[in-house]
């Protein structure tokens, strides 16, 4: 349906349809963020002998995040006197917009997808890099030394880990012969790339955790060192935007992992009767759970170790993986 609309001449109807679709995607993502935060708190509570939210919205705290967001909305919007005002206000937007933009290319099932562009993967990687600028901008504009250190760490970290991240997916691209995410999923009909490209998968997971700024790579906002890092001066809804960015990226990164390595909506053999979208949701949830699990288990790395690990371990391994993939492709396909 969408393709027809795309090729038809612009009119009020398809503008409205596109707007409606965009809004529904936003709602879906916000719904995810709401419950991902709750899930994170619940799962971590379970792992840490706590209960987690249990007051607002029934015994499971189903409305806890809603209440939190409401609180953030009602908070006073403070901008430090010495801050660079325009940049300070722009930074959360620049961080958030790309996070939402990347979702456009992610296919959730055979039918549930919003765009089908040939260079989907490249688009994802390119756009997601922009968020760093928002983070760096926020760190700089706050005119706070902790925020500046956090921003600098963030920039250094993102650059170092973007490279192995891109390199690790090249193996997948080689085997598929396409940058289109839908074709990548279709290429995994028989076997998920997780089993064909195990090394790439490990590198991708590590690099994506670093990209997401989550434990053990949460240096930009290392609470015990930099207090809150780049968003130390932010409060209220601007701060909420940074948090939202983080969780939307969690959504995007878990989706892309599912698509690239876990076979997207392809079912497990003999269980084909379960619809694709449920398979996608299941695999996606496993990835999200894994990321939460990591956060509850691991300590934080140090900035210099993080750098040397990225450049001296992950990057050579990713290059090796490209070489192996090329050889495999040459021999078997």
């Amino acid at each position: 349906m969408i393709e027809e609309l795309l090729y038809s001449s612009p009119s009020l109807t398809n503008t409205l349809i596109f707007f409606g679709l965009g809004a529904s995607l936003l709602m879906m993502v916000l719904g995810f963020v709401t419950y991902a935060i709750l899930a994170e708190r619940k799962v971590m509570g379970f792992m840490q002998l706590r209960i987690g939210p249990n007051r607002v919205g029934g015994p499971f705290g189903l409305l806890q995040t809603v209440a939190d967001v409401l609180k953030l909305l009602l908070k006073e919007d403070t901008i430090p006197k010495a801050a660079d005002r325009p940049l300070f206000m722009l930074a959360p937007v620049i961080a958030f917009a790309p996070a939402f933009m990347v979702l456009a290319v992610i296919p959730f099932s055979e039918s549930l997808r919003f765009s089908d562009i040939g260079i989907g993967l490249l688009y994802y990687i390119a756009i997601s890099g922009i968020s760093t600028i928002g983070v760096l901008m926020g760190g700089w504009a706050s005119n706070n030394k902790y925020a500046l250190l956090g921003g600098m760490r963030s920039a250094a970290q993102m650059i170092s880990y973007e490279v192995p991240l891109v390199m690790s997916v090249i193996g997948v691209i080689l085997l598929t012969g396409s940058l289109n995410l839908i074709q990548i999923v279709e290429a995994q009909e028989n076997i998920a790339f997780l089993f064909v490209q195990p090394l790439a998968f490990v590198i991708f997971m590590i690099a994506s955790v670093a990209e997401l700024n989550r434990t053990p790579f949460d240096l930009p906002e290392a609470e015990s060192e930099l207090v809150a890092g780049y968003h130390v001066e932010y409060s209220g809804f601007r701060w909420a935007f940074f948090m939202l960015t983080e969780y939307v990226y969690l959504f995007a990164m878990a989706s892309i992992t599912t698509i690239l390595f876990l076979g997207g909506w392809n079912p497990v053999p003999y269980l084909e009767f379960i619809p694709g979208i449920i398979w996608f949701a299941l695999k996606f949830s496993v990835v999200v759970f894994f990321l939460i699990w990591l956060r509850a288990t691991l300590p934080r790395m140090r900035a210099d170790q993080l750098m040397s690990f990225g450049w001296k371990v992950l990057l050579p391994l990713a290059l090796l993986n490209i070489f192996i993939s090329a050889v495999i492709k040459e021999i078997w396909f």
């Binding site: 840490q48 002998l49 434990t215 053990p216 290392a222 015990s224 956060r295 509850a296 691991l298 934080r300």
Partner: protein, 366 residues
């Protein structure tokens, strides 16, 4: 024209990883520390001066608030000093109760250190696990003394309260539980590659430096000096127990970690033996005059607290208040090496090093 300059970064007194109200002013180049100036005194309450106007029994609650993570040892050092001056004989049962609560307190203190240290390094869960076990100890101590943190349990000549019915059995049950959980901590943390990378070789100093900075406790034993007052100058009834003093050679944060974790095991051994030997009945207070007046003169005693060597100096003029009271507070002495260790380190290591020293601000500031 590119120009770089050093930045002055103020860490604390409200920073989350300074364990209270410690403040340190850093001169940093990027993330490398060029110069570190600690600023202390935010928690100063003048314990020593206040003590000059108080009777000895009245001073005991003040000692609780010095090292609030192991208040029992602080109680003991004051009582021990007065008892030494008055040459007092302490009943057997009281001595056992004192050793039991002190060693339980030592375990609790090390657990807090373990949890907060891991929290500093960025792992959230060990903190909550450690506090689960600490809570059990706190409950035990609460049952015997009526307070969770500031116990005010010991008195000159003995202890205030006898062990309630079934308390000894509860302590006995706690020992195997703690051993099991301790093995769990090692599984979760001690072998973790990220943790090892964070602590190995960080904050290293030599034996000579440790001695010349007058470090004590695990901060000294991590450099290979076998010095534990419970063994070297046994006080109370420590000569009746069979335990080892964990000594490590490295002198870095990793050795300090191993040292403290091993000390928990040794304390468990002591508690186990104390429970076994615990006298069925007996007095818990010696015959003490109603108003305690140590003879004129002065005395200095020292014992091993979880943080190191805690000493108490009393100058008495034979009155019911001390003429001068002075505590050698181990955290304060252990902290002195910090500026030297921080030279050329980065901010992440600042947290590791500061946490590794195991300070309690109540003790540093007095």
């Amino acid at each position: 024209m590119i120009r770089t300059e050093e930045m002055l970064l103020n860490v604390g007194p409200q920073h989350p990883s300074t364990h209270g109200v410690f403040r340190i002013v850093l001169k940093i180049d990027g993330e490398i520390i060029k110069e570190a100036t600690p600023v202390i005194g935010y928690l100063h309450r003048g314990t020593e001066k206040l003590a000059e106007d108080l009777q000895y029994t009245q001073i005991i609650p003040y000692t609780d608030r010095m090292d609030y993570l192991s208040a029992m040892t602080n109680n003991y050092i004051l009582c021990h000093a007065v008892e030494t001056m008055m040459d007092m004989e302490i009943p057997e049962r009281a001595e056992y109760l004192r050793v039991l609560v002190m060693e339980l307190g030592r375990i609790a203190s090390h657990l807090v250190w373990f949890g907060t240290y891991l929290l500093d390094i960025g792992a959230l869960s060990p903190f909550l696990y450690a506090f689960r076990e600490r809570e059990m100890i706190i409950n035990l101590l609460n049952e015997i003394s009526g307070a969770r943190l500031t116990f005010n349990y010991m008195r000159v000549g003995g202890v205030k309260w006898d062990a309630p019915e079934g308390w000894i059995e509860k302590v006995e049950e706690f020992i195997p539980h703690m051993r099991k959980e301790l093995a769990g901590y090692h599984d979760l943390v001690s072998g973790n590659e990220i943790f090892l990378n964070r602590v190995r070789g960080v904050g290293k100093y030599t034996k000579q430096e440790a001695l010349s900075y007058s470090l004590s406790g695990a901060n000294l034993r991590c450099t290979g000096v076998d010095w534990d007052l419970r063994k070297k100058e046994p006080y109370s009834i420590y000569d009746r127990f069979d335990f080892d003093v964990p000594v490590f050679e490295g002198g870095d944060a990793w050795s300090r970690y191993k040292c403290r974790m091993a000390e928990i095991e040794e304390s468990l051994k002591i508690v186990e033996q104390a429970v076994e030997q615990f006298p069925k009945e007996g007095e818990i207070m010696a015959k003490v005059p109603r108003i305690i007046k140590p003879p004129a003169g002065e005395t200095y005693v020292r014992i091993e607290s979880p943080r190191g060597e805690i000493g108490c100096y009393i100058a008495s003029q034979g009155k019911k208040e001390p003429y001068r009271l002075k505590f050698r507070r181990p955290s304060f002495y252990n902290l002195q090496i910090l500026p030297k260790l921080l030279q050329g380190e980065n901010i992440a290591n600042l947290i590791t090093i500061l946490g590794g020293i195991d300070i309690v601000l109540g003790e540093v500031d007095g």
